[in-house]
Subunit: 349 residues, 4 copies
């Protein structure tokens, strides 16, 4: 049994961790912290969990209590894990950080995008970017995991088969992404109100979203060369879900590739991946097909049989894009079957 | 392992059965029928189930194949179970009917409300109304279960503690109920289109809904006298969920009951019920707290400390109001732990 | 041309006033104030108004500028109009207050429900409760209008025909009301986030909502005796709309009234009312039929032909429940045709 | 006063025509036809219009009655206007067709995309593609108007300033478009149900949507050369709205263009257009800012200051994308001020 702590448990990734872990047979949440709501029962904040955590309370973060856990999840705004991770690691506690603190390998780049100094650059060498489909072996040995962001998870899973095989032009990639509102978190902001987001669609942070350098880093690693991408996120009136629509071009010398070969490339790449589903050629995955599920569904299109490929990928931003992927990392780190506790089918309708 | 058949699996209660049974450790779906979509892969109609039922196909209903199952669920419009149940029962197969076919004990009343003759009145004596909180022992021995309707489940669970103890006036009860759109099923009707139901609220079938006699039957049984109720359902812009708001009056001789006594009455009545959650006094249960979960949450209010009680009850109409309750019945019938496969926490947010 | 000021224009009733007044031929917004956003262009906060108010800016509230207007609307939280109304009235400026400040005639009762002293009890004698269907003649002469609340508008319009004629029991009335989220305003609260309100339904403030005394006051005036009501509001996942479901009982001596007589009573009562629509007997009005429109639609039901009547009423909470009704009052005060600028059809779908 | 007929008035473009024309001072709907609902009151199907059309009934289409109108709108599926337009035109009645029947200049291409022979190729020479921002003078003289499709309106208005000036590469344009569900019409289809579309996002008809040739035709005309575009529509959980995200590349010789010059290009191109709004550089238009309004809002981005431009455009698919644009065409044809009856501000929130 893995004893767990959660730092910052009142947000959406926190409650989602609790939901997933409630039915995990090999892990148990021992402590969950919240500065703002310490003393409150989890069940009072989240009545959906009344039956599963009747007694668990949010507590003030306490170093010793957390250090007594086998693993601590950070479900916090950026900056918090910077401050607390080193002590936990020293105490032998593994850290799985759902925030952006350790996702970028370059501390200076992190500072540029997040507008503040990096708080723990000395930990970067040991931080592992926790995308199991790319770094499973490193995750197995890791003590500090940076859980990928939601958009980066969808975009990378959609494109790495093509980039690893060097089939597509690495410049001019377009990622038109659509996210549900839970991606904006549970903080009280006018822009996230029901009346501001329902029945409307808009782009935001065009070319300026903080997931941009993370996506570029991951794709460049897969391609083994610098990748240039235009990333435009859109806010969509739904709670959960990311739909990534990727536009890429086959290299001139690869244009003889048949549709069957492209489809097979993806199927082969992901054939042993429990959390990636390659759908039939020309499928149109719906975000609702992954609602609550730790899976990324991918489908390929080649409109007008040109050199342009359209890759579609959907995830639940709170599951495969955050808390589910965090649990997947935990499972790997502790030698458990990778999908343990993550086998829910999507809630449809 | 219980071998299962599902008749009429393409609707929302059908796919919900599949979702719940996908993680049930003691039951397996062997056959699922559909006249309209026979030959189609379940995974093609419901991509959310691709990982769980990669090979299961809808097939034409076939008597022998169904009779070879231990239990057959009917997830069909009314009338179908009337036609097929007798042969299955004769073959020793148990039947759990999610439709309205066997819910009313009086065949004539059924005919009045459904506008057609009752197709199997000879089976009524053995049909058990499958509300486990009321009829657990009969369910254990039953071979033919009528799964309660969604509204009746919420309304009965909210009121039976009061009626059983004869605390409230049995006439003039008001049930103002709100349902998500999935209650209207998956058939192609203009009235269920997104553009007809989103961003709007309306009452419908005021005093004329087919769940009226089922509610009256259940409440009258609990009260051991005829109960008179006004039931007004409302269509609400959400996929899942029923919110029942019940207005009842304490009998004159019971008005000295304290709030604590009333709360305790409910807590005691349901203390051993795995699928009913009595919330603290004056709570306001949200339907999202039970989204995807097989639970009914109930809370009590007594505004202005008068003789009028307001009882609030929420369920997921597709789970505790249909498929989850069907599985709960199956568990009881086969001597399994009652919540097996039904322990999901609600998907919140 | 009526020159107008708006105090507190950044909330939903403020922008709705601007939308309605943009096409009003006899009125012009000269000044709109906001402490938090002074200096900002209205068009930058509300791009929907770019074409209609290209140059209008939010400004700091300034007494002289406001006093130079013919009429000032208060679209503010309670308490603000208390502080500012007297000076404006002294300057000869009419005041139409959309907040609750002058709705209750009894300053002590106001204090009890709002938890603070009444800030301007000396103005109460001249304040007119601006429900045109009840107080048109007083509104014509008024200098200070309290625009009715959203729930009270729907409930009163639904019940006053019955109460004025003394046809129903004045105790035990039940008002089960459902409101869209815009009723909670545009302030940044977790409870109003998309992810907290979408796909869910809940009751709130059961028996404790601040509109309770306002409803009671209005119904009691219509009945000319004290009315007892249980009012349970529910939060509904839609932006706009109130659906009121009222349960009332005919007095014993009135039970011989036919359905036709009841229907005629309503049609007669409202036959000259431009903003009330009595629908045919047993209609089920949808809130979307009034989306953006200054109208209340009402329909009558008598389930099971008993003594219990169900009256359904729908309004757009931001129009007939707030800003539209405010403009309707202004029209009456300035001798304009009452529906001027208010003739939009509901936006359906 | 322009006397109007509407053929096929029960769909969403039909009811939207009625809504807009209800407040049009110079036009009057004399007849509205429906084969399926003839005899029904418009007010019974659309209660939102009860106050505006108390007596108007749907009637069987009748040639003589329609021919007596000054202008007939077709709000029908494709094929209907093919069959009926010639006779109306012969009778001197103008025709404004909201369907796709006369949008493509090449009858063979029409046949390929619509899978049936073109029913009226002889009328194509006189058909005018009714995009006022491009063809105002031809519209003024036209007797047969093909109202542009919803996606084509947004995409063309977003790109023609760049194409007309030959600033961008005409191959490899990407149009990632998102539409509300009303674009699928009011027919009873499972795919348009609330429970199938709410809380989900998906692409559809990737590279195969029937608006593809219409977009290509319009852009190629603006560019005066063949344009190659990849068009991927997405279904979005909202009733109304199209959000077009366009990705285009400046020609190598144009990359010295400054952001200011690009912005000015758009502002100049549309400075006298009443129904196009160029927002400030790097704005993110929301579809809700045009809900119910006959306007297209456009904004420009140049992420990473590269040669790639992102143009964002939003419209209400039922207004500027259909019925509003139809009325705009009518106004031009009859010499009325172009925005007559079209000055509504968007309904926000």
């Amino acid at each position: 049994m893995v004893n767990l702590g959660i730092v910052g448990g009142t947000g959406y990734t926190g409650v989602e961790l609790l939901r997933l872990l409630a039915s995990h047979p090999e892990a148990k949440v021992k402590v969950i912290t919240s500065r703002s709501d310490s003393g409150m029962l989890v069940a009072d904040m989240y009545p959906s969990l009344r039956d599963h955590y009747p007694d668990l309370c949010f507590t003030e973060p306490d170093a010793a209590t957390l250090a007594a856990c086998d693993l601590v999840f950070f479900a916090t705004p950026h900056g918090v894990a910077h401050a607390l991770a080193a002590d936990l690691l020293s105490a032998g506690t593994r850290v799985v950080d759902l925030s952006a603190d350790f996702r970028l390998r370059d501390a200076d780049e992190w500072s540029r995008w997040y507008g503040q100094p990096h708080g723990a650059p000395e930990l970067l060498p040991q931080a592992v970017y926790g995308l199991p489909e790319v770094a499973r072996e490193e995750i197995r040995e890791a003590r500090l995991i940076a859980v990928p962001g939601c958009y980066p998870t969808a975009v990378q899973l959609a494109l790495i088969p093509l980039l690893e095989k060097k089939l597509i032009t690495t410049q001019g990639i377009i990622a038109d992404c659509k996210s549900g509102v839970s991606g904006a978190g549970r903080s009280a902001k006018v822009g996230s109100l029901y009346c501001e987001t329902s029945e409307s669609m808009k782009a935001y942070s065009v070319g300026k979203h903080r997931h941009h350098p993370e996506i570029t880093q991951g794709l460049s690693q897969a391609a083994q060369e610098a990748v240039g991408i235009t990333f435009v996120p859109h806010l969509t009136p739904m709670i959960r879900g990311i739909h990534a629509t990727l536009y890429v071009r086959l290299k001139p010398e690869q244009q003889q590739l048949t549709n069957e070969e492209l489809q097979e490339l993806f199927e082969t790449r992901y054939q042993n991946e429990p959390c990636v589903d390659v759908m039939p050629w020309e499928s149109c995955p719906e975000t609702r097909s992954v609602k609550g599920a730790n899976i990324c569904r991918i489908a390929l299109h080649r409109p007008h049989d040109s050199d342009l490929l359209v890759v579609l990928a959907v995830i639940d931003n709170l599951v495969k894009g955050a808390s589910g992927q965090a649990v997947q990392n935990m499972n790997i780190m502790f030698g458990l079957e990778e999908s343990t506790g993550l086998k829910f089918a999507g809630l449809l309708p």
